[in-house]
Every structure is written in structure tokens, then in C-alpha cells.
Symmetry: C2
Subunit: 434 residues, 2 copies
């Protein structure tokens, strides 16, 4: 989306990157973008162009299907069956029902409907700073948004982010997993005392807007225990982090351990390499409860043959180009380079991540870990001058977030970290000279 | 969307056409679809494949842009500006701000947010039997859906459909326009007495699921008067009926007269000829109130260069192939042929429409106008055997709805009506023989 006025300057409803000096990008290929002067930029941000900008296999699949047929799902079509089949092979057996939609927001809205229909409960527990989408129902469950708008609905409960670097319980806590899960348990008990009932615990498998957080392994299992006991379901939002980005696993929730299976998984962004496509996967039981209302769910564009062909092509490329293994290899290398920088530059407080999902937490001081917000913004601006596109996240907007197209390689990682090193060195010198 | 299970038969959450004997369509071109045996079907239903299935110009535009760049709207791009510019030329000058999204449902949800943010009111007035989308917020304002689910929210008010054939005030009423508009006025007054405030009157410019209804001209103006007086806005949902389908005008709300301008217009289905694309157009004032919250609106896929290229190509084809004039010509011809049938077959109670949006209301008797539901279903089934795809709508599921791709031609109209004539004649004979 963009808000585009013909009579006004671009409105503030949509934030451009580098809004004071925005980029006009006209072309992209792999992990590179090109402006109208042919200047090449290394893209470290775009997790939507998952298998690389304009990947020829994905483009070709869409083109071929577009020439043949693109209609709604009122008719049978092999692509739909094939795609659901392929996706099911990446997931635990229990998650065997698929709904196809056009955006992560549509997916999260449907997940909410499924949870409520199945549990007959209304309330939702989310993590602080979470963002789950731009729809009315999702702003309600996104503290990142509702804190700045009309405020918190009575059916929404906010749990602390399981952030062991700057959260409530940190790396020095003897059992942060239990401590964070107990926070959810307390919320449930508090809600029950007020006569409220929990429909769902809604969480990004790796909180992104929250600051590129890696929840400690075992946390989801403990939370799921409490939530299931309360009659609720566990919804894993994989919109930002799914499809092999974390390297070791295809889905980020799998980082928690093999014994953890969510009740609902939502997918978006990378699923179609930019084509508007999304998916909700769930269990037979939840789907049956939804169907039992007798009210049909119809989505005009969702699951059309072109969308499915595109989704299938993305899965093919991930497999054919071994992008999951590649994400592990390059991600580990990048993490190592960044950790080397951490020793050299005191502004780097924490380097965390998995595969090609990495966060670098910039701080003003080691004790308070005060977010180095202005410094982060300055760094991003200087990186852009060096033709590297990076951005920040987290409530303090001080966490550098790396989530590049999956074809990002060792050379790119070296170039990126060398450039960061140079800029941080410059910034340190300038600081001393002031 | 479809719900696809690999271990269960297709679930009941998504209704297939002819679910007892569904079609497997593998190819489509223009107004024709082809099953896996190469059998050709005349498509009288698909208003999404607006300029014809797989139109080569639209397919080419998407392909070319897909090879070049497909990214989010964090960067400047000419397609976005060009597309907003082109759309603005089809609309009254006042509607000059555009938001791009991925589905009609996303558009209607945003329209609701805009209305509420601008008016600071909560309540919404909708027409009975209306359907505005599959999202949580839209099921709440869709009587077609919520009647079968948890029921009506306290902030939703339902006005009678301005249907002069089987509604509250009919063709014999001396002033049905005022009578129907007064119903809205009464709802507003009743809401005010309860201390509630109206954010919007939300209406399809031509109610579709409601039974292919053509509201009498002047109704929107009168309603808008009442709604504006109450501090609310008028939202015209053009998702089913926009983009020249009604022939005479580009937008269906324009059938009400030149003096009527909605505050918000939503667009979907035909806008991208099947590509997931949608749009909200509104005024500077409403957009400014939305931006003033300071909370950005970002839509990952919305307004990307490929979506805009596709939307532009659709506008080009409508123009180049004179599809609006074509819709008037073929629509008038089809209406005439159907009205001839009305004289011959007493089951045809009403033939109404404009351009290639036509409804044929089937009845059991002339006095009560009892919906001929079973007969309509039977007719649709027999048409399918004759390779014609048609469907029914309306609360009685007795209204044949014609909304074919816009390239539907005179020959198709003749073939369609001749076939309907034969089937109705057969049905009448069978009825006599029983």
C-alpha cells in the first residue's frame, strides 16, 4: 500500500525508507537493487524477495500460469492440491489443513477467527511491542500500534517479550524460560478471576518489530501448556521468519524443540517472493469447528492457480538452491563477523540471530544498555551512502535488523561488516573529536 | 482461498460451484473456460476476469514488470504515481487520495478505519443482506454473514434494501426514494436517542448478494444528506460493480446522478483482472485525519510495481477495446432478449440491470412474488449441462446473476437466452406432465 496524493506531497500514512532523501528503485536482481542512475545497492532488508529479487524461475511460473488460467477457487485445480501437499511436507503432520489468502494480515485475521470459533473464547494474549498486521482486528492485538491509538481492548492481554538481553529476565536469570512462561500463566489466572476466557496466545515465532528477539528454547512449550490448560490455542505467526530463513529449520517455531507444535501457523511475506499470497495452516479439529458454523469462507483471489504456481516455484527454488543450508552457512559467518565487531566497538551490545535473521542491539552504555537510537539512525544513513540498505527495529529503534534475500552471500556479508566497521570507527573518532 | 485438506474431503468452509459435480477448469480465454476434457463453457459469472480471462496485454504487463522489479512501497516508483493518476481521472476531483491493497476485504476494512478516524464515531449503517468481505470487522457489517453467526453488534444498524421489486416500497409506491431514505433517517434518529453516533453508511453501489438490486436514482443523495448531517461519511463499495461494468458510467454510484459523490470508494475484484489488487479512494480531509494519528499504514504487497502495472494494463484494455460502450450495447441487447422471455415464461418476475450487471428474479407466482428457489437451482444445473456457467443470488437464491467478463458479446447473449428459453420450456412441459 501507499497513500498517494496527486495534489499533496506523499502523506505521512506511509513511511518511505530514508524519507528525507528517498530512493527511486527501478530494477532489482538477487540481493541487489538499482536506482534510476544505475547505482547498485546491497539489500539487507527485504525478506519478501525471499529467493532473490525477480528470480527467473518464480517469474516464469507466474507468467506461464497467467497465460493459461487465473480464476477463483470455486473450481477444482491441481495447483491448489499440489501446493497444499508440498507445504504439508514442511510441517508437523498435525497441521494438515490449509487456507490460502492474499496477505499476512488476512492470514492473521483468519487465525483469530479460527481460534475464537474453536475455543468459543474471546481473549488474546500477545507479546509487548508485537505487530500482527494492519487490519482493524490486528491493530487491536498489536501493542506496537494500539499504544499510539485508541488503547488496549479489554479482551487483549500483553505479556513481556522473552528478551534475555534487555527484557524482564536476562541472561543471568537462573531460569528465564519458566519465569517468562509464568508471566503468561499469571495473565491467564488474572483474566480468569475477571471471568474472561483465553482464545489464543498469538506470537511471532521470532519477534521482529519487538527487536529481532530469539525466545529461549522451551518457552513456547511451557506457554502452550498454560494456554491449552485454559482452553486456548497457540498461534505461531511465521509471516516474517518462515520458509527456511533461520537455516537450521524450515519454520522458526521449530527452534524451540521437536516437542513443540503450534495449533495454527500463519505465513505471508516470503511465501510468494513478492506476489500477494499468504496461508494459514491448522489442525483438522480447528478447521472442523470453523466449518461447523455452516458459514462459508470465500476469498476471491486466495489460492488462485497463479498464486499457487508462484508459491510452488518458491518452494522449488529453496530446495534446488539449498537456500536453507546457505542461510545457516552465511548466517553463521555473518554472526561471527559481527561478534568480532562487538569486541572492537562498545556500541554493539548484543549480536543475536539464527540463519539470515540477525539483530544487532546498539547501546549507549554497557550497564544500563540504553538504546543508541540516534547512533543507529546515523549508521543506517551512512550505510545507504555506501550503497547498503539496512534498517532498525525494536521499541528503542536501536536494533539493526538483517533479513536479506536468502541468496545473500559470504562476499556480501564481508562487504557489509567491513563497511559497518569503517563507519563505526569514523563515528567513534568524530565522537572523540567533539 | 480454499480450504484444502490432504486427509479429508474438501471441507465445507469453501463452496465449490456445482459441488455435487464440480468442474475442473484448466484453461480460460476471453469469456470462455475449458475443462480437462477440452469442453468449452460460456462464463456468465466471472466479474474478476473483467477484460477477459488471460487477456494478453494484462499478462504481458505483469510479466514485464515481474522481470524488472517487485518490491514494497518503501521506495518511490513511477507505476504507483501513474496508476493513481489514471484512476483519479475516472473519479470526481474530490476523490484524489489513493491507498493500494491486496483484496476488496482489505479495502473495506481500511474504509471502515478511515471513516471512524475521521468522524470519531463508531456506528455503521448497512443494507440488509449486504456482504462486504471475509474479515472479522467486515463480517460484523455483513448481515448476509452475521445473521448466521454470533449476531448483530450494537454498533451496526441494518436498513432495508432499496429494492423496488420485492422490497418494503415497490414500483407502485409514489416516492420510494424518499421512503427508503427515510428509513435510514429513522435509524440515525433511533441511534442518537441511544447516545450512539454514526461513522458511516456503507453500501454497495449496486447490492449484489442482496439480489442484483438497482437502487432508484436519487436514493444515495438523500441518504448522504441524512448521514452527513449526523457527522458520518458515505462509503460506496464498488468491488463487484466498478470499472465500467454498468456501461453508461465508469462507476456504478454515478448511476445515481451527477450530483452524488461518495466520501470513500472501495475497489477490488475486476481491478487487476484476477491479480490480488484493491484500492481505496478518498478525500484529502479524510486522509489527513487518518495521517494525523501519526500511526503509519503499511501494506507489504499493496501498491507494488507489478500490481500497479497490472492495474494500469486493465485500464488500458477497457479504453482500447471500448469495453464500457460494449457493455452498454451488449447489456441492452441481453436485457431486451430477457424481457422478451419474461412475456413468454411466467416464472420470470423481473428483469433488471445496467450494462453487464443484470438480475433475473424468478418467482413462483405473480402476486406474492414467492422466490422460485428450487427452479432457479434446477435451471443453473441444466445450463451447466449445456456448457453455460451462471449462478444465483439474493436472499431467496432465486435471482439469476449475469456479471460476465466484459468481452461477452451479442452471439453469447443470443446463445445464452436461447438456451434459457429451451430449458424453461422443458421445465414448463415437465411441470404440466406431473
Amino acid at each position: 500500500m501507499i497513500l498517494k496524493s496527486l495534489f499533496l506531497p506523499p502523506s505521512s500514512s506511509c513511511k518511505l525508507f530514508f524519507s528525507n532523501d528517498p530512493l527511486k528503485i527501478v530494477k532489482a536482481k538477487g540481493q541487489y537493487m538499482y536506482d534510476e542512475n544505475g547505482r547498485q545497492y546491497l539489500d539487507c532488508i527485504n525478506n519478501v524477495a525471499h529467493v532473490g529479487h525477480c528470480h527467473p524461475d518464480v517469474v516464469k511460473a507466474a507468467y506461464e500460469q497467467n497465460q493459461l488460467l487465473n480464476t477463483n477457487s470455486r473450481y477444482l485445480h491441481d495447483n491448489l492440491v499440489d501446493y497444499a501437499d508440498r507445504l504439508s511436507k514442511t510441517l508437523p503432520e498435525k497441521l494438515c489443513i490449509f487456507y490460502f489468502l492474499n496477505s499476512g494480515s488476512e492470514a492473521n485475521d483468519l487465525a483469530l477467527r479460527l481460534a475464537r470459533q474453536y475455543t468459543k473464547h474471546e481473549d488474546v494474549i500477545v507479546l509487548d511491542h508485537a505487530y500482527h498486521g494492519h487490519l482493524t482486528s490486528l491493530i487491536d492485538i498489536s501493542p506496537y500500534k494500539f499504544r499510539n491509538l485508541e488503547g488496549q481492548k479489554e479482551w487483549v492481554h500483553v505479556a513481556p517479550v522473552p528478551d534475555t538481553y534487555r527484557g524482564l529476565y536476562r541472561e543471568d536469570h537462573e531460569d528465564s524460560v519458566t519465569a517468562y512462561a509464568d508471566e503468561v500463566k499469571n495473565i491467564i489466572e488474572h483474566a480468569h478471576r475477571k471471568g474472561r476466557k483465553i482464545a489464543a496466545f498469538f506470537v511471532e515465532s521470532l519477534p521482529s518489530v519487538g527487536g529481532q528477539i530469539i525466545p529461549p528454547a522451551g518457552y513456547f512449550q511451557k506457554v502452550a501448556g498454560h494456554v491449552h490448560k485454559a482452553g486456548g490455542v497457540f498461534i505461531a505467526d511465521e509471516i516474517q521468519v518462515g520458509f527456511g530463513r533461520v537455516g537450521k529449520h524450515f519454520w522458526a517455531f521449530q527452534l524451540q524443540g521437536e516437542d513443540f507444535i503450534p495449533d495454527i501457523v500463519t505465513m505471508g511475506k516470503p511465501i510468494g517472493n513478492g506476489h500477494p499470497l499468504a496461508c494459514v495452516a491448522t489442525t483438522k479439529e480447528i478447521a472442523a469447528a470453523f466449518a461447523a458454523t455452516g458459514v462459508e469462507y470465500f476469498n476471491t483471489f486466495g489460492g488462485n492457480p497463479v498464486s499457487c504456481a508462484t508459491g510452488l516455484a518458491v518452494l522449488d527454488v529453496i530446495e534446488k538452491e539449498h537456500l536453507q543450508a546457505h542461510a545457516t552457512e552465511v548466517g553463521n559467518f555473518l554472526m561471527k563477523l559481527l561478534k568480532d565487531q562487538q569486541i572492537k566497538h562498545p556500541i554493539i551490545g548484543d549480536v543475536r540471530g539464527c540463519g539470515l535473521f540477525i539483530g544487532v542491539d546498539l547501546i549507549k552504555d554497557q550497564v544500563e544498555r540504553t538504546p543508541a537510537t540516534a547512533e543507529a539512525e546515523d549508521l543506517i544513513k551512512r550505510l545507504k551512502e555506501k550503497c547498503i540498505l539496512l534498517s532498525t527495529d525494536g521499541p528503542g529503534r536501536n536494533v539493526l535488523k538483517f533479513k536479506p534475500p536468502m541468496c545473500f552471500n559470504m562476499e556480501d556479508a564481508k562487504f557489509l561488516v567491513e563497511t559497518i566497521d569503517k563507519i563505526l570507527t569514523d563515528m567513534e573518532k568524530e565522537c572523540l573529536n567533539h
